[in-house]
Structures are given as structure tokens and as C-alpha cells.
Symmetry: C2
Subunit: 204 residues, 2 copies
């Protein structure tokens, strides 16, 4: 899925593909939220989206993946975003900026995001896969950090450490946000976490 090109510019075929994909993802999320992961089969999801179950697998490699579509696109977006952050910022500050952007984006789709988090928390077997996608992000981010600070300073494992730790902080902020039902903006929680990181994690 390219980041350029709106839905209207595509032919009927590609539009139908997007529709089918969205219908499958939506059906999966809705059904699993209702009945739990084990209570929903791929056939149920395909049925609800009005396609064959074989078609489901043309879009998603597994049932779980249909529930976790969102994290996919960030894998390319974050590194790009990190590269275009102001040059004056340290890598830590730049990463914070990128993740703030993501937080804002997620708050606009708060309902969907919260539903997804709910589904994940109710079906712990999904957690792995969520973090797995996060792992691919981590590598991509580490590469972008290395690019940013230059090869000689990148040796020694700083990029890997920074992206691993930064994403961990993001995840904690996100889960904290989902617990406080919208009373605190995710960006505030993220800022809090990054302030602590930058201060060396002093005890409160």
C-alpha cells in the first residue's frame, strides 16, 4: 500500500481490493470483540465479509494478522519521519517527536484503537504478534537512527538500544492511555515517559 494516491484515483479492481481488505479486517475485529478469538473461525470472518475463506488468506496470512493491520504501515513511516525531523535534535528528541506524531494519529481513531487494545488484552495470545510487528519496526527504526547519527557513532549498539527502549516507552504510554479512558492525552503520557528517559529514569 503506497502512501501516495487516494482511493478515488484507483480503478474499480483496486478499490474492491481495498474494500475487501477493510471488510475482512472490520469483520475480524468486530466478531472477535463479540465472541473472543477462539469463538471465531476464519470461515466466520470470510462469511461476514462475503468472500470465500480461501480469499481471506489471500489478504492475511493468519487470523491474528487480520486483527493487527494498523501497525503494518508504521514500519516504513517512522524511519521516514525520523529522517525528516529537524537536524538540530538529538536522536532521542527526534524519536520522541516521531512517536508523538503517532500518538496524535492514534488519538484521532481513539475508538478503533481502544477496541483493538481491548481485543488484544482479552486475547493474550495476540500480544506476541503485536510485539512481533513491533520488532520489525525496531530494526527499521534502529537503522534510521544509525543513519541519523552517522556510522562511527552508530557502532557500539546505540541505535538498537535507543529504538528498543523508545518503543518500550511508547508501548507503556499507549497501554496507560488505554486504561485512563481518554481522560489524559496520549501525548502527555508519552512526554512523561520520555522526560524520565532523558533524566536517567530517576525514582519518582
Amino acid at each position: 500500500m503506497d502512501s501516495v494516491g487516494s482511493v478515488e484515483e484507483l480503478g474499480r479492481r483496486d478499490r474492491k481490493k481495498l474494500e475487501t481488505r477493510a471488510a475482512l479486517a472490520e469483520a475480524a475485529l468486530r466478531l472477535v470483540a463479540e465472541r473472543g478469538l477462539a469463538g471465531v473461525t476464519v470461515e466466520d470472518i470470510a462469511e461476514a465479509a462475503d468472500v470465500s475463506s480461501r480469499t481471506f488468506f489471500n489478504y492475511f496470512p493468519s487470523k491474528e494478522d487480520a486483527l493487527l493491520v494498523a501497525p503494518a504501515d508504521v514500519e516504513t513511516a517512522w524511519p521516514k519521519s525520523l529522517a525528516s525531523a529537524p537536524a538540530g535534535l538529538t536522536a532521542l528528541q527526534a524519536l520522541r517527536l516521531v512517536l508523538r506524531g503517532q500518538a496524535e494519529c492514534m488519538e484521532q481513531r481513539a475508538e478503533e484503537v481502544r477496541l483493538r487494545i481491548k481485543v488484544i488484552e482479552e486475547n493474550p495470545s495476540l500480544l506476541p504478534r503485536l510485539v512481533s510487528g513491533g520488532f520489525a519496526n525496531e530494526r527499521a527504526l534502529a537503522a534510521a537512527v544509525a543513519e541519523r547519527i552517522g556510522p562511527e557513532r552508530a557502532a557500539g549498539g546505540y541505535p538498537e538500544l535507543l529504538s528498543a527502549v523508545g518503543l518500550a516507552a511508547f508501548r507503556v504510554a499507549m497501554l496507560r492511555w488505554s486504561r485512563t479512558k481518554g481522560s489524559v492525552p496520549m501525548t502527555d503520557l508519552l512526554d512523561d515517559a520520555f522526560d524520565r528517559l532523558a533524566a536517567g529514569l530517576p525514582e519518582p
Copy 2:
């Protein structure tokens, strides 16, 4: 598996159970290292351990779990270890001490650990499950941190942040260690990561 009680004290039945379990885990690791995850079926593993495939599932809920038996016991050991760390230490210092202990323990079984890491890196679909176990650890650790610093300072999400970030640092150090084939002790890499955390992640 209790920490008390050696193998000799158990009856024949329990000894056989341990043997079977170990044989299955060993066969799984060996076969997957040779042929890759997709090239090995549960039946292959059961065959190699000379039991029926149904018996395999009496020991492990899935093929993947047979490859990741080790991380299971740390879930209770780390919180205990954290609680018994010297009272003078900050939570960050105590966590560092606990993870150093784990690193030392892993270096004693370096061959096995490296083989396991190799298998995981070659089969990324395992990563999820590994991190899943890690997630349970994270919660247990967060609870132990909260216990350590007291309820009023635990509000505000510090325990969750510290354990998430600390484990991320540990994971990075471990992977870095597995890449440098034993030339650098894992404890050194861990110290490096925690020094950076305590200093607020300054760019190198």
C-alpha cells in the same frame, strides 16, 4: 519445576516425565536448528523422542513452546531476586543487578543459549512467543518494582516504564552478545546499556 528437590529424590515416574520433557525439548531444538521451523513437524519431534505425537501435546501446548522452555522459570525468579536486592539500591540499580545475575547464568549455558537465539533469529515467527513470555515477566517485574518503591511512588506508571525499558535493554544486550561470539561477556554489554540508561541515553 520447583527450585528445591533434585532429580534423584523423585520416583521413577517423575524422572521419566522429566526425561521425556527434556528429550522433546532437545529434539525440537536440534531438529529445528537443522531443518528450520517449517521443515519439522510435531510428529518428527515426537518420533525423535520416541513418543506419540499426542504425548507431545501433553507436555507442550504448541510446537513453538517446546523451543522456548527456558524463559518460563524467570517469571518468578526475577521478582524474588529483585525483592532481595540490597535495600540501599535504587530500583534501577536493583534491576540491573537482577539482570546481571541472569546474564551470568546464561553465559554458563552459552552454547545452548546461542543455539536457541540462532533458531529464533532464523525463524522470526518464534519471536512473538518469546516476547510473550517476556511480557508476562514484564508485569511480574513491574509488580516487584512497585513493591520495592512503595505504593505512593508507584503511582504514575514508573514501575511499568522501568521494567519495560529495562527488559528492552536486556534484550538488546543479549542479542548483541550473541552476535559477538563470546568475545565480550554479556555482563559487560548489559552494564554498558544500563550506564546509558542511567545517564539519560546521551548520544555516544
